[in-house]
Symmetry: C2
Subunit: 224 residues, 2 copies
DNA sequence: CGCATAGTTCGTTCCTCATCGAAGCATTCT
DNA sequence: AGAATGCTTCGATGAGGAACGAACTATGCG
């Protein structure tokens, strides 16, 4: 009966279906209001509100008040990583479906993870960027290579500024079990993809589907 | 209200204090009997038995029957990884203790993670092995370098055989937030450390404490 | 065979906690 | 100011599940 960090407390927060649905929804990266999360979780507003205050108290969420709207978001990448890890186990031990649904396929290829792109496409992209020495990888640490600033500037992404958040960060992918690119650069790239309309977000899902020309453009710019 | 892998189911299994204690105990790597786990969790035998069957049904544990003894163990590295991830969050958001207990310090330096060494020492070791090109790291993938077989043979560790489990594997460290070495090689190294009595396991804890001469020997062999 | 040890199953008790309706604040719009 | 929207708090209800004692099964020992 040893004492350590209270993992039961954290796990039980995720362990309620309503809260799990909310957290899953927030893995999409955009902060959501209490009403949206209530809908997402399939519970009434009072119930959702109660869950949200528990998640807040547990330190899993952040809150940004804007007028009468209150936007809830994941507390950070570490929390997102934990949820990915749990998802991985659930996926592995879960009931093996006869055939993975089409949405599952799309999720494997490309999806939103917190605020950046995940899935096979994202893993391949990071591999290529490292291969071309635009990024330098050393374990979890990813740094900008010498040509990075000019390379991304040409695409219209400014990596020169030094924000509080790290520019590059590795994030473990549950479907491929390898890392993809997170951090402000990862977020900027996802923005770019959606802004250029190379891909659109699947309704009510974290899946990201590329249009055929969009995929070509993406590959030309980031993998080429 | 989207459907995905049932993360609430998995998280709620970890979310009960008794079960969390059991899982924590099993993070020590050695399989334990129901009675030992009951003691560990601070519950009666029937209660423990009930919890264990739930964990089994959830796919988090494996069972090895030996006569009238039934040894429970973690189902695999993925489960261990998930628990580390949850531990990391719990550690981060948990009540900041005024001063970290002495055992916590020891845990940070070196501890057992499933079947291999984790903590600062383990992270440093992996760094050095990569630096010396004995191991080659490429993202999550860690491969043996050209000199690896002879290098480890000299220490008395055979990495030539090709077992089912991967020889090398990266495992994320919750205290240092960097990777350390898992896989059969990681397990063999931990065996070596304990066999040579360079270190001993702290009673009732995952902590591993090196004796002064043991630490020297370890550093000579693996960091030198 | 009979006794001891290891573990599971059963039935009961009890308590936590998820849920929702109604009412209460707060902010914005007109 | 008054009405409407977004959200939280309160109170009551109900269900799930954690707990243990007692009885039952299985293995090992003399």
């Amino acid at each position: 009966m040893r004492e350590g960090p209270d993992i039961a407390r954290i796990a039980s927060l995720v362990g309620d279906p309503a809260r799990a649905n909310m957290l899953n929804a927030l893995m999409g990266g955009t902060a959501l209001t209490a009403s949206e999360l209530a809908l997402e979780a399939g519970v009434s507003l009072p119930t959702a509100s109660s869950h949200l205050s528990k998640l807040m108290e547990g330190g899993l969420l952040t809150l940004a008040s804007q007028g009468r709207h209150r936007y809830y978001g994941l507390a950070g990448p570490q929390v997102a990583g934990m949820i990915e890890a749990i998802t991985g186990v659930a996926e592995a031990v879960g009931p093996k479906r006869v055939r993975p649904g089409p949405r599952d396929g799309a999720m494997r290829v490309a999806r939103v993870c917190y605020d950046h792109l995940a899935g096979e496409q994202a893993v391949t992209m990071l591999d290529r960027l490292v291969e071309k020495d635009i990024l330098l990888r050393d374990d979890k640490e990813i740094r900008l290579g010498p040509s990075a600033v000019s390379h991304f500037a040409a695409i219209g992404i400014d990596v020169g500024a030094k924000p509080r958040r790290p520019v590059c960060r590795a994030c473990l992918d549950w479907s491929v079990r390898r890392s993809h690119l997170a951090g402000t650069l990862g977020a900027a790239i996802l923005d770019k993809i959606l802004l250029e309309k190379w891909a659109r977000r699947e309704k009510d899902s974290r899946a990201v589907v590329f249009s055929p020309p969009g995929k070509q453009a993406f590959e030309r710019v980031f993998l080429g």
